[in-house]
Amino acid sequence: MEQQAIIEVKGLQKSFGSFEAVKNVSFTVNKGDVFGFLGPNGAGKSTTMRCMLSLIKPNAGDIRIFGKNLFEERNAILAKVGSIVEKPDFYKYLSALKNLEIFARISGAEVSQKAIYETLDFVGLLGREKDKVGGFSHGMRQRLGIAQTLLHQPELIILDEPTTGLDPQGIIEVRDLILRLKNEQNKTVILSSHQLAEIELVANRMVIINKGQTIIEGSVAELMNAQETLLHIELTHNSQGAAALIHELLPAVKIQVSSPKTLELNVEKQYVALLNSKLVQAGFEVVALEPKRKLEDFFIQMTQA
């Protein structure tokens, strides 16, 4: 089935004076995606996100959201978008409820008081709605930010660094919220984060940008499986024997025996299960078999290339 593109960014460029923040960024987000937007600091992620929300006007390139040109039909598009850019900031002298009422009023949809309370419940802030935002913790503001994005039932949610500054519990909460948005409300979510493991945990597709340019784009699973994994194997004994067996099976693979009980090798992810079964069948007692390459390694590899 052909995917319906929700966001199409083509050849985006933005300079601030002589500094080229974004040189050439292109990617496509499909309906129903949780789309990871990755890049090291200064890669141009926030500038791209701000361009996608018309906060910054690009020097060149095309942004189409829901098939419409962003800068020609801005209001119609933004009525169907919920977003957090960097940290969500609110009117600290107003209560959470008043803040949400303010943003609901200009969201482009009729948002009932009941809907506001339901959204507060969804993000776990029901009971704190009368409290002034000035007294909220960073995590509570983040959740209120997500509530603000959901008020008008948007089709697309854009979250720029939504876990920045959160403690581990806060990160888990935000991650769970994103998964609930995808699973319970079938939203399309685009998410940038420095917590790269989070992208791996929640996103199905991703793009990596570096120095203002797109490096790679695709499905997270495909991109991850296409890469070699650093496999760490721990046995009860005889790592030399295990190395000999692996060499017979995969002659091209370079194996490093690091101790009588451990060895490491670079292998494509598809062979990990096969190696495990062959070692066990040959009588080796496998204590641990741990693929070590995760998105961080892939990300570093891509951005340093």
Binding site: R50, L55, I77, E86, F90, K92, R105
Partner: protein
Amino acid sequence: MLWKNTYNEFIKILAKPRSYIGLAALTLLILIILFAMKADGRMYISFVTASFEQTLSFNGNILNGNLIAFIVLQMLIVHIPLLVALVTGDLLSGEAAMGTLRMLLTKPISRSQVVFSKLIAAAAYTFILVLWMGFLALVVGRWVFGDGDLIVLNSDGLVILNYTDVLWRYGLAFMVAYLALMTIATLSIAFSAFADNSIGPIVSTMAVIILFTIIGSLDVSVFDHVKPWLFTTHMASWRSFFSDPVPWSAIWESVWILLAHNILFVAIAIFKFKRKDITS
């Protein structure tokens, strides 16, 4: 969307403590002036009337509510711009400093509508400030000091206005004073469109007022062609309503110049704000 956001702006202004600083300061200042006039007003008036006492005889209640209102207006019209700028200079840049501007501008509302809604809120706030000043000066002044003919000393000499001929003059004077204060409001909003902090536009607005006032008061011919076009030159034109006869053409000229400044400042604010990259 414009009116919905204007409603939002009213909520924000009403909730901000700094909005009440102006009203509180105004109340305190006027009460101090009223108290001072009640305590020692006759002495104050005698400075004005002394030079005329050889040729004129003053009878009746000279120190009345009408005169008190005139004194209050004259004293405060110089200071109220700061109270106005304190709120209006913060309207756009304060949102940038708080980070709420990027939240606001990701909503389906145009940037022009954002500026206009803030302008309407600023106009309402300034109107309340002028109305409050008028109430305290004229209504409370009359209540404390009673009614009577208004004696005004201006550059042409002493003008005595019958008490039945005063109220309409005050009504129009407050309207022109309001227009002058709106010029301050639009100027500070224009500065606010350029800045990402709250203090900059407030200080810049006051700096422009001080600079233009100094240029206007310098008796140097090189500035003679500039002075008529400075908005500060026309900020005191409300006083002209207390001349007899009223110099209507001069007042209209001031009104047009102040209106032109208002339009210019709003245009600058919209032009800048529509093109501004929101990086805060």
